[in-house]
């Protein structure tokens, strides 16, 4: 275990060194493939001089807002559709169809509706986060075993009590795995949303760097986005672990 823990970052280091050596040995133009040392230098400069921070802030805000909005609406719609079966059957084809529309293709129309900037990107991100929560909430609510439903009936529980005290807690592990999917998609949604609509943010910066043929900056931005994604994901995993602490206790896994 400890060997793997050491080996894993060592692998990254080896990859970086090979890349660096490859750039010098083949003499490929740094405009096409920049060496990692140059990428890290640009990244460091951007962070120290501070001009990267507003972009990080904007993308982070878009991701967080879109994720929160899309997940919350997805969860609530999942509750309604999960509880009211006729409604689910009535609306499901349309819900599915709405998900098959490539949401990034909606970007231009959102720009007409909401203007350039934050709102359009947040809406795109929220739309992307909506579906995993909707689907996992509906499935999660059905996951309570029939015996426990009978138990709640025997005990004279109301429908709301059964939802709050049996169905949602039973489905929580599934619902939270939907949240994990959503946070990963949220960052992708925000970055690509900025390609279309943004004047600010890391995605917009990539487009700007493309305009200047600055591939070194582009790679620096890739690294930033990846680190941000890992941070967001880790926060969600920690929150999940905290919410499920009652389930984990004594489980033999």
């Amino acid at each position: 275990m400890t060997a793997i823990r050491i080996l894993s970052p060592a692998l990254l280091l080896a990859f970086g060194l090979t890349w660096e050596a490859g750039v010098y040995l083949t003499g490929v133009s740094p405009i096409v493939v920049p060496p990692p040392s140059a990428v890290l230098a640009v990244l460091w400069a951007g962070l120290v001089q501070g001009w990267l921070w507003p972009h990080i802030w904007v993308t982070g805000l878009e991701t967080a807002l879109g994720f929160a909005l899309g997940s919350a609406i997805g969860f609530l719609c999942g509750l309604v559709l999960g509880e009211v079966e006729p409604l689910r059957r009535l609306l499901w084809p349309y819900v599915l169809a709405s998900q098959l529309v490539p949401k990034l293709a909606l970007g231009p129309i959102f720009i007409i509706w909401f203007g350039f900037g934050l709102t359009a990107t947040v809406v795109i991100t929220a739309l992307i986060c909506f579906f995993p929560l909707l689907e996992n909430t509906i499935t999660g609510l059905q996951s309570a075993p029939p015996e426990k439903r009978d138990l709640f009936r025997m005990l004279g529980a109301t429908r709301l009590q059964t939802l709050l005290r049996l169905k949602i807690p039973s489905g929580l592990p599934l619902i939270l795995s939907g949240v994990r999917v959503a946070i990963v998609l949220a960052l992708v949604g925000a970055v690509v949303g900025e390609f279309i609509s943004g004047g600010q943010g890391l995605g917009a910066s990539i487009i700007a760097a493309q305009g200047m043929m600055d591939s070194t900056l582009m790679f620096a931005l890739f690294i930033l986005i990846t680190v941000m994604g890992m941070l967001f994901y880790q926060i969600v995993v920690l929150a999940e672990r905290w919410l499920l602490r009652g389930w984990q206790k004594g489980s033999k896994s």
Partner: protein, 260 residues
């Protein structure tokens, strides 16, 4: 209905000519009659798929009969009754609540839990021998301990009737015997009327005052168990005990030949 039991005076739980069919299937329970006097411990035995669990759900009000009726203390059931405690095949504890919270569930669904409720539930857990586990979570308990917690949950509101669906089937033999003794003690103390489904003939004879054999949706035969109070392993090997087991085995067997 052939029966060698004494006629029941004013049954506490009465199932009269009840029939039930699941949608798209034939009758699972057909014209079943069953009458439990107050304080009776009635066991239902039968082969898998004979309709005993369905009959138990009819008695609970979880299912409503298509014809006939189910009455508890004289009034017909129109749905699940809170006069009835139900113990399922699996412990069905809520994994995210402590054992104590699980036992208090029948109360906490209807009113605020008082300190008196808590101490009563804790007392019940102590009686069941799992007092030290009150603040653990169900997954930290063994199968036998989970079954005990489920039993405590059914008893916490002191229901006059208790319906049990093979609650000990998944336990090892020794744990099962311990739980049978605890169940007998607790239900006798409370004078509870029990309808207990099992496929284990010896379990039925050990626990019951009456054993009914069920076959293809009908009550085939009801036997009164007039043995002295049973306790401990010795009484399980008594000749009258094994004799009764044989009789009930014989009542179950014809359907085995018919099926073969």
């Amino acid at each position: 209905m052939p029966t060698d039991a004494a006629p029941f005076p004013a049954p506490f739980l009465a199932i009269e000519r009840a029939s039930y069919a699941y949608p798209g299937e034939g009758l699972t329970v057909e014209q079943a009659d069953l009458a439990l006097a107050s304080g009776d411990f009635h066991c239902l035995v039968g082969r898998s798929g004979c309709g005993k669990t369905t009959l138990l759900k009819l008695a609970a009000g979880l299912l409503l009969p298509e014809s006939g009726s189910v009455r508890i203390a004289g009034s017909a059931l129109a749905g699940p009754s809170r006069q009835v405690g139900f113990v399922f095949q699996t412990p069905s504890l809520l994994e995210w609540r402590t054992v104590l919270d699980n036992v208090l569930l029948p109360i906490s669904l209807h009113r605020r839990v008082t300190p008196a409720d808590r101490s009563r539930a804790a007392e019940l857990l102590a009686l069941m021998g799992i007092g030290d586990y009150a603040h653990r979570h169900p997954r930290q308990l063994s199968g036998g301990q989970q079954s005990r917690a489920a039993l405590a949950r059914a008893l916490v509101t002191d229901p006059p009737a208790l319906l049990m669906d093979e609650p000990f089937a998944a336990l090892d033999a020794i744990t099962r015997e311990e739980l049978q003794d605890d169940l007998l003690r607790l239900t006798r103390e409370r004078g509870a009327t029990v309808l207990f489904v099992t496929h284990d003939i010896a379990e039925a004879v050990y626990l019951a005052t009456h054993v009914s054999v069920m076959d293809r949706g009908r009550i085939a035969r009801t036997t009164a168990i007039d043995l002295p109070p049973r306790h401990g392993a010795e009484s399980r090997y008594d000749s009258r005990f094994t004799g009764l087991c044989h009789d009930i085995r014989a009542a179950l067997a014809p359907s085995a030949e018919a099926a073969a």
